[in-house]
Amino acid sequence: MTTMLNPQLNKHGELQHLLTIEGLPKSIVNHILDTASSFVGISDRDVKKVPLMRGKSVFNLFFENSTRTRTTFEIASKRLSADVINLNIQASSASKGESLLDTIDNLSAMHADMFVVRHAQSGAPYLIAKHLIDTRQAHVHVVNAGDGRHAHPTQGLLDMYTIRHYKKDFTNLTVAIVGDILHSRVARSDIHALTTLGVPEVRAIGPHTLLPGGLEQMGVRTFTNMDEGLKGVDVIIMLRLQNERMSGALLPSAQEYFKSYGLTPERLALAKPDAIVMHPGPMNRGVEIDSAVADGPQAVILPQVTFGIAVRMAVMSILAGTQG
């Protein structure tokens, strides 16, 4: 049994790190979404900044490459008037000997106020958060920008913001997540967020090789037949299919995948007529999604990106305002 308490919340129940959506009280999730709506309008102003994090340093610590996520965090930080330092730590420099915790200690000594961390290992941000708590640096906050297969909480939150924007009420929706759920941290975060916000039916659609065990325990109905799974659905979240899946004996080919699990206009028509199509990006056109759908009127993929900046601004400003 571990003696570590849930490191996301401080002893007053306030959010001090954002590591995962699992276990977050619904009130905190809603608070983040509500705050985000105030940030959406900033992008339309002349001065696209608010002074909330003026003088604060945000360190983007990316152990896994990702230009797009890093860029949105950078934009979000700068719109909060924070200073941003980007650190791309490739595997090779880690192999030069400096451990993850040594890296954190060095950066803390440079007065980092916030770490935005992406790492290939599930759980890495927890190690960092625990270390900061143990070394009495409770004023330094950690945002998980994606850890292994475990969680991508800001993506989950921006997906919820998007759904709320278009559908308003979570409690009468059917949401389908399609694709490589086995390897997807986005899927896991979406599932936790949807169930926390009271979505009555969450569906996972994919071949058996890409569906992890234990989904039922997470409150999800699984489908291996996409036509069945999409019937009457209000929201479709498409996941990216990575090339490695073909070499790992999980799938034979991208063409076959598209035939059975690609979102074509015909398949989209099985969902509700006002269903929205989402994708965390980047898209593989012709593999998981047909261009006609991606560019069609039901796709809300670009608004997701816009909302993503506002949601990240909300997360960062709520964290930065929490005392240890």
Binding site: D34, S37, S38, G41, V47, V50, L52, I318, G321, Q323
Partner: protein, 173 residues
Amino acid sequence: MTLPTNPSQLDAEALYATLLAQVKTGLAGVANVAIVGIHSGGAWLAERLAADLGLLPRLGVIDVSFYRDDYAQKGLHADVKPTQIGFDVTGATILLVDDVLYTGRTTRAAINELFDYGRPARIMLAALVDRGGRQLPVAADFVAASVTLPATQALVLQRAATGQPGQFTLTIE
């Protein structure tokens, strides 16, 4: 201008009438006027003023949560509402409206926020009640009543849920 009044005798609707009269006179003949209310009490007042002055298309509402100076001590306010400015701030004469003018810090935050939208020609401040206790050099152009209150008490504007317009009342908490 106005003499200090007993806070327990405040009639919010009467005060509003006074304020409206002052504002009408003060803004007569001024071009490019817009009204911006500070959420939430100021926003209600601004709504009523805009309706009574025929300026509804030039109405905005501002939430100063992102510009407050106590973020480091108190964190982000629990109830942030979006700021909505539907008109061009640059060149406008903006009447900033708040319910209670106290330390002046909220006004400072609101002015900073407005300047991030553009360069106004002029900003004037209207407050229903001035309770003194200024901590910054801020003064209202239009005030309906002045009162003194101990620091432990707050003066809160409320708007009735029913009625068009909802009735204003002031309470001490």
